[in-house]
Amino acid sequence: MKKIPPGWLMALLLTLCFTLATVFVPRATWWNEVPRAADWNKGQSAANNVFKLLLGEGRRLFANEMFDMADAYFHSGYYPSIFDQSVTEHDVADPAEGKTEDESSTSDDFLGPPPDWLAALDRQFVPNRHTHLSSGGPSGHVSEVDVQEILPWLKLATDMNPQMIDSYTVGVYWLRRLHKPEQARDFLFEGLHNNPGNSELLFDLGLLYDEDFHDASRARNTWLAALRCWQAQGERARTSVDGKRLYDNITMNLAHSAAIAGDWPQAAKYLEMAKQVSPYPDAIQKQIDEAEKRMAGQPGTSKP
């Protein structure tokens, strides 16, 4: 058989590489493309990313691990292992869920006193104190910007499981706290692209428009969309604790928005809706009374 000259082989390989590149580059760009605002309600329910291509649906198994990694980074590595008998709360998610950033949570001292001299020595070589990246970190004087270190894990968690809503909401909370509203908005668009009509994400988007972009009208419209999507959910989702909390948040923000616009009848209507699910109905009743007083003071208005 005639030997092919190396130059020809090289040319053939280069041609093959070029052909493959022209085929794969557009596909690879599409895998990692961030959806635009216009795309977020197109009904595509799954992210078409590189992890899906490599791992298939099995990638969802790793999403919780990625979320745990974000929490571990938030604690600068001081984190219980599977051998430590401890109920792990995700402190990284607490502020995003409206809870206070509690320094002494369940993961505070999961280690307990060292049982032997070897364990006591070992603890000198590993992170051994409960700290939060957002409040000083291990040294006590880490800037809050360092909390950005958790973001890659939250992004990976959403890549692994695009239906994991907590990863989006927690990521958006910290992006907003790091004064990155554009990135937070893009992340929410990505979440909505993968979870069309998700009322929690729509609520967060409204909050972002209201507080970071100071666009009250867009915020109100987004919250109205969130309310519609919430009402379109099944009975079980609406009566769950989280579902009620979300309804309370949406209606309260809509009421606040209407009150700022001077639309007191609408504000009272939303407050009445919030009262049905709120854990503080008396406080809301006071606000309703206040709204009705204002309504009565306005010429040409009637009680709703």
């Binding site: 590595g77 051998f83 049982p115 070897l118 070992d122 070589f125 970190g137 894990w153």
Partner: protein, 258 residues
């Protein structure tokens, strides 16, 4: 002592003649640089995940280099029959063991230094600060740990038939200690007697290699470990290294070379 140094020199030369170090270094560099080139939320200052990945690769590479290198030293000498002229120099069997150990340990230290230099350059260029002492301490502790691993592997190469079985068994043992070692006492407490005492005995017998793993501290900027604690850990490592070398010598002394 000159005899031991001569043997040591041969082992170190072997490190850069073989391709293991270069392949593992290039692999570590490529994976780290690829991970570092990723940008999350348009923020170029996010760095800890790169540090984490690079440190993990350094640990894996260092263990690979050390175990494969130490496992083949004595079997290779026996297989190629160079052990006979070596022992006829005259060199005692104890000197062979010491020379091989020192050679492997220094060679793994050299390789580790190259990896840590790369790590420092990569993280420094992204973080714009250089905690040199922290990196030096991490390097030193890991190198001390590699001393125990080298001695363990030399013992394994005397006990097991072929270098491949030594490498496989040592990898399982070392990985087992690194992953489970520090949790064995917790596991023991959740078991009934006599299993509890058995697990606790294993816990106190095994060399706790995970003591020397300060990756979490380096990645999350926890600062330096107290040097006194490092000294205690070094004494602990010296005791185990000495014990394994003694056992290797005892085994090698009675071993037939034919």
């Amino acid at each position: 002592m000159n005899t031991i140094w001569a043997l040591t020199g041969v082992v170190i030369k072997e490190l850069y003649r073989r391709k293991d170090l270069y392949v593992l270094f290039v692999l570590t560099a490529v994976i780290t640089l690829a991970a570092g080139s990723m940008e999350f939320f348009h923020d170029p200052n996010i760095v800890r995940y790169v540090k984490d990945l690079c440190m993990l690769l350094i640990w894996v590479s260092a263990l690979l280099i050390t175990i494969t290198m130490a496992a083949r030293q004595i079997p290779a000498e026996r297989e190629s029959r160079t052990i006979f002229p070596l022992l006829a120099k005259p060199v005692t069997r104890g000197q062979v063991i010491l020379g091989k150990f020192l050679g492997c340990w220094l060679a793994s230290g050299t390789a580790l230094a190259v990896f840590y230099l790369f790590f420092a350059v990569i993280t420094g260029s992204r973080e714009h600060y250089w905690p040199v002492l922290d990196y030096f301490q991490a390097f030193l502790l890991q190198w001390i740990m590699l001393g125990i691993v080298t001695a363990m592997t030399l013992l394994g190469s005397i006990v097991f038939a072929a270098p491949s079985s030594t490498v496989t068994i040592l990898f399982i043992v070392v990985a087992g200690i690194l992953f489970l070692g520090r949790h064995l006492n917790t596991v023991a407490l959740h078991n009934a007697e006599p299993l509890r005492s058995l697990i606790y005995t294993i816990y106190f017998i095994i060399p706790h290699l995970e003591l020397f793993d300060v990756r979490e501290r380096v990645v999350n900027d926890w600062g330096l470990v107290n040097w006194l604690d490092c000294g205690l850990a070094a004494l602990y490592a010296a005791a185990y290294t000495g014990l394994f070398l003694l056992l290797t010598w005892l085994g090698f002394r009675r071993k037939s070379l034919t």
